[in-house]
């Protein structure tokens, strides 16, 4: 009896020891976690009794879908440093591009706040270049708030990966350039790699237009290099709240008729989509300028979607003086009218307003094809 009691007592002690260690382990950080945690570990007791929610785990992140990914934002933004490598592994295993793209941002923003050097090292360890770029964007977004110069130095010193370096340059330009575009223009202009220079110029232009389209339009004709001026001239017309007549006036100052023709087409197209009647009135007021032939063609196409009847289109065409502008307007309108399923007789009636020309030949070919294959 005494021996049995002794055996039971020793067995119980063994079980108690087993339980003590394995329970305590549930709350311990993983062995691979770095030793320089910046936040105190959570108390053991709650973790012992309640399993972590699935979202805040490696497996949880790997199984999020595009429908429920947003539920992970809050847990990620409160994670401790040692948890982030596991979460990254889980997220990179997630099969949905949208989920990875969205949550990588939050994960690396959290990481950069806690330990930006560690975040950079983790980012460099990612094998997918696009995931690296997403992570780098998040890190630089945090870093530039406190030390823009250091961020620039890090990127410009990254000679071992030109793809990531160029992505970093684009990101930094998009983050900083709005404040002082001209400062970055001078830097970009000195880049020897023509393709990198182009990327930088376009990024500067995009950031500038996003921040201050009116300001960019006001001085666009004085912008150097000419490549950026031309880029701004071709894109500013699509920005909200830009005054199209002002832009068209700027385009009219270009020395080359070919450039005036091409860019007027861009501007009048954007103007027509935004304010069709005002755009037509503008064309009417400038109908003596031969470089607007292509613009008249563009507007003729747009107007088919803005007017109620072909009679309206006919009336507009007839307001234009006989010649290349009216021919281009009427031919294109007839072509689009036929293509959008309206009666061919109406399209024919529009086309009859155009004198013989290459645009009319093209529209006639559309009408013939529609007649043969209704």
């Amino acid at each position: 009896m005494r021996a049995l009691r002794h055996t039971l007592l020793h067995g119980l002690c063994g079980i108690a020891g087993y339980w003590f260690v394995s329970s305590a382990d549930q709350a311990a950080p993983p062995a691979a976690a770095p030793s320089f945690f910046k936040e105190p570990a959570k108390p053991i007791a709650p973790a012992r009794h309640s399993a972590p929610p699935p979202l805040a785990s490696e497996a949880g992140l790997s199984q999020l879908t595009p429908e429920d990914w947003a539920e992970a934002i809050s847990p990620i933004s409160q994670m401790r440093l040692y948890e982030l490598p596991m979460m990254l592994r889980g997220l990179l295993r997630n099969p949905f591009p949208d989920v990875r793209w969205r949550l990588l941002r939050y994960l690396f923003e959290r990481w950069a706040v806690l330990d930006h050097a560690g975040a950079l090292a983790a980012m460099r360890g990612i094998s997918s270049p696009q995931h690296q770029e997403t992570a780098l964007r998040a890190i630089l977004g945090i870093w530039t708030k406190s030390d823009t110069e250091a961020a620039w130095q890090y990127i410009t010193a990254m000679d071992d990966d030109s793809v990531l370096q160029e992505a970093g340059i684009e990101i930094l330009l998009s983050l900083n350039v709005g404040a002082d575009p001209l400062r970055y223009l001078a830097w970009a202009g000195q880049l020897e790699d023509v393709f990198l220079r182009e990327k930088a110029l376009l990024q500067i232009g995009d950031s500038w237009m996003a921040k201050d389209p009116q300001g960019a339009l006001a001085i666009v004709m004085t912008v150097e290099p000419q490549r950026l001026r031309d880029y701004l001239l071709s894109k500013l017309c699509h920005r909200d709240a830009v005054d199209h007549p002002t832009g068209l006036a700027a385009v009219a100052q270009l020395p080359s008729q070919a450039e005036r023709s091409r860019l007027s087409g861009e501007w009048l197209g954007a103007f027509g989509n935004d304010q069709p009647q005002a755009a037509f009135d503008w064309l009417l007021a400038h109908a003596h300028r031969p470089e607007l032939q292509k613009s008249a063609d563009t507007l003729g196409g747009i107007m088919t979607t803005k007017v109620k009847s072909h009679a309206d289109l006919r009336a507009m065409a007839l307001q234009l003086p006989a010649g290349p502008l009216r021919d281009a307007f009427a031919s294109r309108a007839a072509d689009e009218w036929a293509n959008s399923g309206h009666p061919l007789a109406e399209a024919e009636s529009l086309l009859s307003l155009s004198a013989p020309c290459i645009e009319r030949e093209s529209a006639q070919s559309t009408l013939t094809s529609k007649r043969q294959n209704p």
Partner: protein, 336 residues
């Protein structure tokens, strides 16, 4: 040693031994416990609902999204494989709808669906769209998929040119490993795409490292990387292109560079484009360029184009019949 002390010592030892056993037992289980992969949710979805009868692509997509909200991530694939009797046209419509939502879908699932469609232009276009989106979002995974395509789908302009935007970000050796599996057309399409996106993705340093080993002459019916380079440099740095044209000693490469240069120049300035067209050596390409540029000029500045057509420059570049045909449209005649 008193019995009491002996008992205390042995029970303590048992406790410690138990603790060791617990430590040894718990650590590997926690670290090595298999993490359920996302792909496995097909079998573990709480309720694998049967797909409803097909009424429209939009309604089917709505059902797929509703299933995904419940954690059923393979609903789309099930729709294609079981429970519904879809016609080819319905399968195509639904696949189009799914591809429109590509970022919200597992690309591996989309790929299986698209490759299961009846082969044709519509299915090919969906495949091109998929590889374009996939390589833009995750070039490495996309490359692994592209490498598994059968040769007739792999060596297509749609797959290789469209994926080049994303692939240009990968290390040169990875892209060259893909290139080794391509035929001459495939390598040409890949090179064309890489140059075409040179100022938008990757880096020129990386792209040139790839292009340097993508040797070989482009087949006659493919656009070459040199042609594309001529076009891009005309847009972004004409002076650099002029230097390249002067320095290039290979007449074929030089002609391709010139062709791209002439094409892009003519879309901005038709007269200058026509002057450059005159220098193109390949007669078929030269004629195609001239026709395009004179048509473009007539549409953008009729008076100037007609004056040029009646002048000596046009007489040197175009035959009399070609000029007469264009001038007749405007009730004009050839002067010389």
């Amino acid at each position: 040693m008193t019995p009491c002390f002996r008992t205390l010592t042995t029970t303590t030892l048992c406790f410690i031994l138990g603790a060791f056993a617990g430590k040894w037992d718990s650590t590997p289980v926690r670290v090595q416990a298999p993490v359920p992969r996302a792909e496995a949710t097909f079998s573990s979805a709480p309720l694998a609902a049967l797909p409803p009868a097909y009424t429209s692509a939009t309604a089917s997509m709505e059902w797929v999204r509703a299933q995904m909200q419940k954690g059923d991530t393979t609903a789309a694939e099930r729709f294609f494989r079981q429970g519904t009797d879809l016609s080819d046209e319905q399968r195509l419509s639904l696949a189009r709808e799914l591809v429109q939502n590509a970022r919200r879908m597992d690309p591996h699932v989309l790929a299986r669906i698209i490759l299961g469609l009846p082969r044709g232009q519509a299915a090919d276009m969906l495949l091109w769209r998929l590889v374009s989106d996939w390589s833009t979002n995750d070039a490495e995974a996309a490359l692994l998929f592209i490498e598994t395509l059968p040769p007739d789908r792999l060596n297509s302009v749609g797959v290789l040119t469209n994926s080049a935007f994303g692939l240009s970000r990968l290390p040169a050796e990875r892209v060259l490993a893909l290139a080794a599996k391509l035929d001459d057309h495939g390598r040409s399409y890949l090179a064309e795409g890489l140059v075409g996106f040179a100022d938008q993705a990757g880096s020129w340093r990386n792209t040139t490292a790839i292009l340097a080993k993508l040797s070989g002459t482009a087949p006659p019916d493919a656009i070459s990387a040199d042609y594309m380079l001529g076009m891009r440099l005309t847009e972004i740095d004409p002076a650099s292109l002029e230097s390249q044209l002067t320095a290039e000693t290979d007449p074929l490469k030089r002609d391709k560079l010139l062709q791209g240069h002439a094409w892009a120049t003519g879309t901005h300035d038709p007269q200058r484009g026509l002057e450059l067209d005159a220098r193109i050596q390949d007669p078929t390409v030269r004629q195609k360029h001239i026709t395009f540029h004179i048509d473009y000029w007539l549409e953008s500045d009729r008076a100037a184009a007609l004056a040029w057509l009646q002048g000596p420059a046009a007489a040197q570049l175009m035959d009399r019949e070609q000029r007469a045909r264009l001038l007749r449209i405007y009730h004009l005649e050839v002067a010389r």
